[in-house]
């Protein structure tokens, strides 16, 4: 990883939805090959930032480059894997059929599709449910089908919007292990949002978002040291309090 350009680079990134400025002048870089956590409370703009990165958000201003291209470029569509917060798969298809369709859309050659389909099913531990209709699966299983779709092809950047919410602890641990394996073995960059702060320690880099602004960024250790706290959650709360004092000085 010598001097590779950042996987995502934002400068003055602003997004307006309706009358509201949801993201306000963000500037950050995501290291290539890293597992970066995007943390912040609900409504802080995490999903909007993710949609801007994958190119589905309208009214994005400022600079936002993804893998060296402006976000949303056609050439990025097969290089970036995206998982929305709510599972976006067809409930009236089986897990296997969902994967076969999305693999075809991604342009995976026909002879490679069965192998890829089976690989991603085992990555998310759903091989036993491959022939169940997605609509009949549990919420956690359905979101894993959605995650499996993002693993198809050879994405260089995976952008995951709260992929572990509502999953049991064992599964969460397994998925985080998978995320680190993807980064270590295949050099994939992962940007993972969460509002659960105890997941922060599983990330190498963190971006802390609050009300559309970047509160802080760095490794979990840097953030803890910066604030003199023991956990990232406490670090976040300390940073929020000091930001508030700055906004509403008494």
């Amino acid at each position: 990883m010598m001097n590779k350009p950042p996987a995502v680079s934002a400068r003055g990134l602003t997004v307006v939805r309706g009358a509201r400025t949801v993201l306000d002048g963000l500037a950050f870089d995501v290291e290539p090959g890293s597992v970066t956590g995007l943390l912040g409370p609900s409504g802080s703009g995490k999903s909007t930032l993710i949609r801007a990165i994958v190119g589905t958000q309208a009214k994005v201003t400022g600079t936002l480059d993804v893998l060296g291209w402006p976000a949303g470029s056609a050439s990025l569509r097969s290089r970036v894997g995206y998982v929305t917060q709510a599972p976006s798969v067809y409930d009236d298809l089986t897990a296997r059929q969902n994967l076969e369709y999305f693999a075809a859309v991604l342009g995976v050659p026909r002879r490679e599709r069965p192998e890829q389909r089976d690989r991603v099913l085992s990555d998310v531990d759903l091989t036993a449910h491959a022939d169940d209709l997605a609509g009949n699966l549990s919420g956690g299983q359905r979101s894993r089908v959605s995650l499996a779709v993002a693993l198809l092809g050879t994405p260089e950047l995976l952008v995951l919007d709260e992929p572990t919410v509502g999953l049991d602890p064992v599964l969460r641990r397994d998925l985080w292990a998978l995320f680190h394996r993807l980064a270590a073995d295949r050099g994939v960059t992962l940007l993972i949002s969460s509002h659960v702060m105890d997941e922060a320690d599983r990330c190498e880099q963190l971006l802390l978002l609050r009300e559309g602004s970047l509160l802080a960024s760095g490794t979990p250790r840097e953030l803890r040291d910066l604030t003199g706290t023991d956990t990232v959650e406490d670090a976040f709360l300390t940073l929020v309090d000091s930001a508030r004092q700055h906004e509403y000085p008494r």
């Binding site: 190119g55 056609a74 995206y82 709510a86 009236d92 779709v149």
Partner: protein, 245 residues
Amino acid sequence: MNATRTLATSRRVLRQLSHDPRTIGLLLLVPFLLLVLLYYVFDADPRSFDSIGASLLGIFPLVTMFLVTSIATLRERTTGTLERLLSMPLGKADLIAGYALAFGALAVVQASLATGVAVWLLDLRIAGSPWLLLLVALLDALLGTALGLFVSAFAASEFQVVQFMPAVIFPQILLCGLFAPRDSMQPVLEAISNVLPMSYAVDGMTEVLRHTDPTGDFVRDAAVVAGSALLVLALGAVTLRRRTP
């Protein structure tokens, strides 16, 4: 356009339907049963059955494909699969053509069944070829698919989208010449009926009913229906946005 992605989309749409045998059953059987019903409604006047039956063969595929497509594409929009697809290397034309092919295939089966029943079982007397009836029925189905795709962009829920059926389809049924000849309507209504595509679908069916060979009017009617379908499909493509607010 990319053939692999278009065909994969058609296959996916048909696979979704294949998990829903009740919908397939209703799609195929309802038109056929309604024709049988109509046959006995005109028990004493079989020649009225000829003209109304032929018109209905054009209206059924339009109505059913409108409903199926509007709900299917609304679901794509609301469940996030559309956003996901448009973040992938899928062209809008691939998606639309995929839907049109899948529902077109279904419409061929539906219209064949209904036309076959009408002509051979219910003794619907047509001067022209049943193949021409089938052609118009297929074009109507495409028009229904196109309209359904288009209106789904203006609905936020399935409740809203089904309301487009009385709003978009019923006026066309009232004005298409099924209830009264179009040239006998109040002139403003006649003018409106002249710009509604379903009028041409029904006119086309009537041409097949009355003439042994395809007439110039028939060709014009079929071309108008096909052209309207393509126009509305293009409008539908405009409503598919890669970037949404």
